[in-house]
Symmetry: D3
Subunit: 136 residues, 6 copies
């Protein structure tokens, strides 16, 4: 079993704001992240798949196809977007990095070719904060 | 003459949108960056001062004071903010990285102690795009 | 289960020196790292916790609280310190990166709120050497 | 159990080309990577070993010995080499990053001292693509 | 005057070999870099232009156009290529990083729009070696 | 004129302490950096030379010779050392990064071959603080 990882990048705006709470509760829970006028991040997205290298190509999965799949199924939907407003798969969810990583996992799972196993979605919100999700 | 640089970090939302143009003109000029719902970045800000090391301390300038000054005069005003909406020193300006770097230079110049010379403001918008301004 | 990681930083002096050995044995075992006058490092500390995202916040754990906890329980005790001399939780231990990572794990375990699980302490001694400890 | 990782570096040329296929098949499978005149990479190699810290040294394994072992058993054989042509342990294999990581694992396994367990070989082909192999 | 920099990436093979010298002279001058079977690198290319921000856009130059120009005029010609064999603008030149940076400068100069000034080509051959050229 | 830069690395202990001041004055000026038991850093040292590429080699200067020269004339003297105690060229000087960069410049100047011009010494004390010196 070999693990193959590809890094992609996107920029987005968001805020941390629970609409069922008061503004005061939101400010207490999220501080500056609750700014109603939004803030944003450069997200770094690492996607890891696993499998046995194909004898003909030596590949677990063609990394150019992996890059294309991430761009089409994830980056196109979130890059230069407002995560709270513009992104279908985040509708009705808190826009935490945790939930965003799980949402990205679910988008990728719908589109991976048979025989390729998704192993991990790792998402940097800032150079000092990241989240990992393994699907369980 | 020795040059001393300190890196600070902030996150912000913005859009590239010229209010005196039509939406079509904005989209043609700025593409996805014109998204009316905003996007955002992790900005990395390098501030360089220059001077002769003080014989008593060996310092051009105390780097902790430099860090504090950048945080108080810049980061407090832009971190977790919407650059187009929340930031006084960007009012009426296009929120390009170029203009933001010039704006940051001007904020710092108002508050640097006498005898400390500002040399450069270098601002990363993404890990692949940065701007430098030397005050002239 | 989602994994959340926060990076913090500290600088410290240390030496690798076993007091129950002769100087020659120490020099043979540790080379330049045994320099009696000390050397030092910029340590990069990654702390990973795990859990299920809270429905109200979307957080496994508030990353600002995690940062504060690491700073108060670890960074305050080791930053700008001599690890062999100044740090209570390293007393009587060899100051290897391995032992330092285990010591940091133990400090964090005493202070994590109930319901938050510590997953990993990852500690860079230099950009080319790091250690990971998972508590078992 | 503590995990210790050392990073080493090498540069090499390669191409992705299956000699049992036609040129057209190779170009379809590998695109630009099939360029018959070769291309190349700066590889970043992370080797992780695991074990219990020795009471006398505090080490899982002496990181200088680990560095020396990686340099002698791997870097000497691949650095400034053509992976398809010059490297014995890649003979007859596709020069994918996947197969290279497995080949490096096998070289290291032959030479690790008794009592030191190899945990992972992680190999960056570019800053955006890496592979991990855990020996199973 | 504001300076704007864009980072692009390419991979290539090369060797350092002066065809007017003997093999022995080449090995003495270039060591492992003279390997007749080639080696290669991940090159990181920083291109800096300078000018005054446009009042309408806030841009010195549209960074997406800059990226496209670098990709079309440089990356297309060198990515996944053999610099000694496949690249017209390096024909008859030693394939040092110095000469490659100068060659890239010259390619860019032919295609920059009027009014945009090229300031610097900075080229990393490895994470520890880079070259800068300012056109004079 | 082309500029060539090589990165080298060393680890060292130091403290910021002016022996002609009281302990209170030192603590006020230097805070935690005045800890009498020392602290330390991983220093990253960038050395830039400049010149015209040699027609035979394509080199401004052989980067392996540059690396060797930095290692012999600087790294050997400071790596795993106490900068205040063990380093001749820092004797009697405050151990600030500013003074260390100037000291390194002076050491290199004594040993550069004729015809090679030293352009810049850039020294990172931490990933967020660096100093540059151009010899004037």
């Amino acid at each position: 079993m070999v693990y193959l990882t590809r890094l992609e990048h996107f920029n987005a705006a968001h805020k941390l704001f629970n609409p069922s709470w008061s503004i005061e509760q939101n400010e207490q829970a999220f501080g500056k992240c609750a700014n109603e006028n939004w803030h944003g991040h450069n997200y770094e997205l690492y996607v890891t798949v696993k499998g046995q290298p194909d004898p003909g190509t030596g590949f677990v999965f063609d990394v150019k196809q992996l890059s294309l799949l991430i761009r089409e199924q994830v980056v196109e939907k979130v890059d230069h977007m407002n995560l709270n407003v513009d992104v279908d798969f985040m509708k009705g969810k808190m826009c935490s990095t945790e939930n965003l990583a799980v949402g990205i996992w679910n988008e990728l799972m719908k589109h991976l070719p048979a025989g390729v196993q998704l192993h991990c979605v790792k998402l940097y919100e800032t150079p000092r904060i990241y989240v990992e999700y393994y699907g369980e």
